[in-house]
């Protein structure tokens, strides 16, 4: 039976207190917090983080990588290839984008459950809207990744019992490419469409699974029409509707069914039935049952732990990060675009954070080198050294208030890796006055900057999160 072999949710470190919106704007916002992707994150980098968490607990290798988001970092160019490179997947593993629509995330997941071979599905979103609007406050940023396959690929922790889809063309939510905000039709209209569609898909999925609604232990209900989501949640007839994470994270759109499902799986027992219902231009339903293997499964880093680990971002900084306001940049040249050919030659280093290690000396070279700094190593006597998952300790650090940055100041540290090796590296997700010598850090994949429309991806270090 095909199902979920592994999974990981990713919640970015920053939180916007919704009450901060009205404090500045006089209206908008609400209670609780929403998650905020940092200025150096996009849906691709968050997808990498979720994928790394999903691959950490298992020994399985995907044979396909599918990426879905409503906020792609690139159009025209595939975004999944950067995730593919960061995960150091073999070139024979295909990487595809499922583009554009909020529905594409659940769609990719359902398609993978119907497909062949171990398939990594990565879904991510950055949700916003115009200042004071409902989308700004209710939205959240995040990602989730699922490795889908059969027992041949690894122990299945949740198998698919059945699924269904209901589709209809109606314009409820829409957004032109490049626009910072979505439009929404009068809410009551959408509700009249989502209600019957949910009833139809729900019934069909339960039938395919051969169960009754009362057999469902928990339903993950998400969607792009909050009123309809709320209404159908009460009508499914299930034992419990999952916490939708709206109090701390917000609605992460394309990623949301995955993020809420990951959170539920992390708390589930073997033998539980979990339904996923997603309302977006129709309805998608998945019915899953957790297996005994779930008891042996240790998440890379639970969603709950990530939610607990956040730190506040001011509303002014949030608006700046989302390019809702522009601030005066330092009078320094902006960074130049990376060379495509140079980046391609350095692919494993740039995307996978792979250095090299002298075969005789064992000395780590970051970036990888052909000639060692130790005389005992012969020319080219180097082994690849993947370092993305190796922890490190801050040896010394500095705060640079002069250098160009989208979000100054730059916090920079010299870090020594466990088992040997050193790199001077930029820190992120960090408060400048909280950095300490001896602090533990871990590597994270980020978008350093964009120049001439090219995203420059590389790695930074961040304070080690719990679970490390």
């Amino acid at each position: 039976m095909r199902g979920i072999i592994s999974f990981g949710g990713y919640v970015p470190y920053r939180r916007l207190d919704r009450s901060a919106i009205a404090a500045v704007m006089g209206k908008g916002g609400g209670r609780g917090t929403r998650s905020v992707a940092s200025y150096d994150e996009d849906t691709t980098t968050m997808g990498v983080e979720a994928s790394r968490l999903a691959l950490r607990p298992v020994d399985a290798e995907p044979r396909a990588l599918w990426f879905a988001t409503a906020d792609p970092a690139y159009l025209e160019k595939t975004n999944a290839t950067a995730i593919h490179a960061a995960l150091l997947l073999d070139s024979s593993v295909g990487a595809l984008d499922f583009g554009g629509a909020v529905r594409s995330g659940i769609g990719a997941l359902r398609t993978a459950l119907d497909a062949k071979g171990p398939t990594m599905v990565v879904i991510a979103d950055i949700r916003g809207g115009l200042p004071t609007g409902a989308d700004e406050a209710a939205g959240g940023d995040g990602a989730a990744a699922f490795l889908i396959g059969t027992e041949d690929d690894g122990p299945v922790v949740a198998e698919l019992l059945g699924s269904a889809s209901a589709t209809e063309e109606f314009v409820d939510r829409w957004r032109q490419p490049g626009s910072p905000s979505a439009g929404q039709w009068e809410e009551r209209f959408g509700e009249t469409r989502y209600g019957p569609l949910t009833t139809q898909a729900w019934k069909e999925a339960l039938g395919a699974a051969g169960i009754e609604a009362a057999d469902v232990d928990v339903a993950v209900v998400t969607g792009s029409h909050s009123r309809a989501v709320k209404r159908v949640s009460g009508q499914l007839g299930v034992a419990r509707v999952a916490d939708d994470l709206s109090a701390a994270v917000g609605n992460t759109g394309t990623a949301h069914p995955g993020l809420v499902l990951a959170n539920e799986l992390e708390q589930a027992e073997p033998g539980q039935t979990i339904a996923v219902v997603m309302l977006a231009d129709g309805v998608e339903v998945l019915v899953l049952r957790t297996t005994d293997a779930l008891a042996e499964f240790t998440p890379g880093l639970p969603v709950a732990a990530q939610i607990a680990d956040g730190a506040e971002v001011s509303y002014a900084t949030y608006l700046q990060w989302r390019e809702m306001i522009q601030v005066q940049p330092p009078n320094r040249p902006e960074p130049t675009r990376p060379s495509s050919s140079a980046a391609a030659r350095a692919q494993d280093w740039k995307y996978g954070f792979v250095g090299s290690r002298g075969t005789e000396s064992g000395t780590l070279h970051l970036p990888p080198a052909r000639v060692s700094i130790r005389p005992e190593d012969e020319l080219d006597a180097m082994d690849p050294a993947p370092m993305a998952d190796v922890g490190a300790t801050v040896v010394t650090f500095t705060i640079d208030r002069l250098v160009y940055s989208v979000s100054p100041p730059v916090v920079f540290a010299v870090v020594d890796f466990d088992g040997g090796g050193r790199l001077p590296v930029e820190l992120t997700d960090v408060e400048p006055d909280a950095v300490r010598i001896g602090q533990r850090v871990e590597m994270t994949f980020r978008r350093l900057y964009e120049a001439e429309g090219i995203n420059n991806y590389f790695w930074k270090a961040r304070p080690a999160r719990s679970g490390q």
Partner: protein, 397 residues
Amino acid sequence: MASHGIKDQVAIIGMGCTQFREHWDKGVDDLLIDSATAAFDSAGVSKDDVDAFWLGTASSGMSGLTLSQPLKLEGKPVTRVENFCATGSEALRQASYAVASGAYDMAMAIGVEKIKDSGYQGLNAAPAPHDGTKRNLTAAAMYSLVLPAYAARYGVDEDELRMVVAKIAEKNHRNGALNPLAQFRREMPAEKICEMASVAGRLSVFDCSGVADGSAAAIVVRAEDAHKYCDDPLYIKALSFVSGTGGGLIDPDYDYTTFPECEMAGADAYRQAGIDDPRSALAMAEVHDCFTPTEMVLMEDLGFCERGTAWKEVLAGTFERNGDMPINTDGGLKAFGHPVGASGLRMHYECWLQLRSKAGDDRQIDLSTRNLGLVHNLGGYPGEMVSFVSILGPELG
């Protein structure tokens, strides 16, 4: 295989140096013409007497045309050199070897930088095409790593050490205030520097070198020809250069309290010059005080004092103009300013004045017991740098 040096084989017979400042009214051509003309006049020669030219500029022009066009040099070789902030010294090194080899009788080393036409603050070099993985950090921030590292290694209180390096800026401003060619001619008390906002680590803008336009030039001949042009030439005792492996960036043993490239260049220069104890042999040194902690560490790397003691020597006044070991008597990069390609030659210009007793009554150092000078000029960052050291003296032998 050895670094033999060219001790006493080459002499400087004339030098020129423009004022270092924001020359809004002068371009690269003007600065080159001004310093070259001053050097020709100083040596009593014309441009036609010079057989070959080495032009140092980091980013103010490409190729020898940058010099041959404004000076209208007819049928002469001009080599443009670049070696980060040690560019000017590198030009002198190449010109000296050219005359020592016998290839030319007379050569000019000239350095220039026109920083202030960029429209940006600070020093900014255009990067070569890259893979986007190089660190994004100012030089100030890289050098700011020295302070906490030094404090930890030698058990010095960080606040006290911050004051120590501010004293270095204070000294260099005091020296610059007396120098008509210096960019900053105002004294700046260390206490005031400590009160300023930090821009990188604990460093303020007054811990950083001045950003200026300028040019400086030297004319060299073989030592045996020197007195044809000049009664008091300055002889080159040593020229050393070390370009590092960059290993300090990735070597966990590197602790940011020393610059090994500078120590190696110094040791090589002392060997070439036959100096055993630099502190007793040298009357002065011009060193690369790009940031105040740099000058402190260099005092140890160049052997002017024991490891871990430079901070005490700073407080004791050892490196003041009238101290036991005068350092940066012209104001250094801090107060004289730092037009990248010109700075190395500016340092030699100060030796040219001081070691020949031409610095003027208010600035002249004591030469009664020692008469050798050292120039140290580096480029790059802690962990990955190039370093130049020369030794000069007014007498042969």
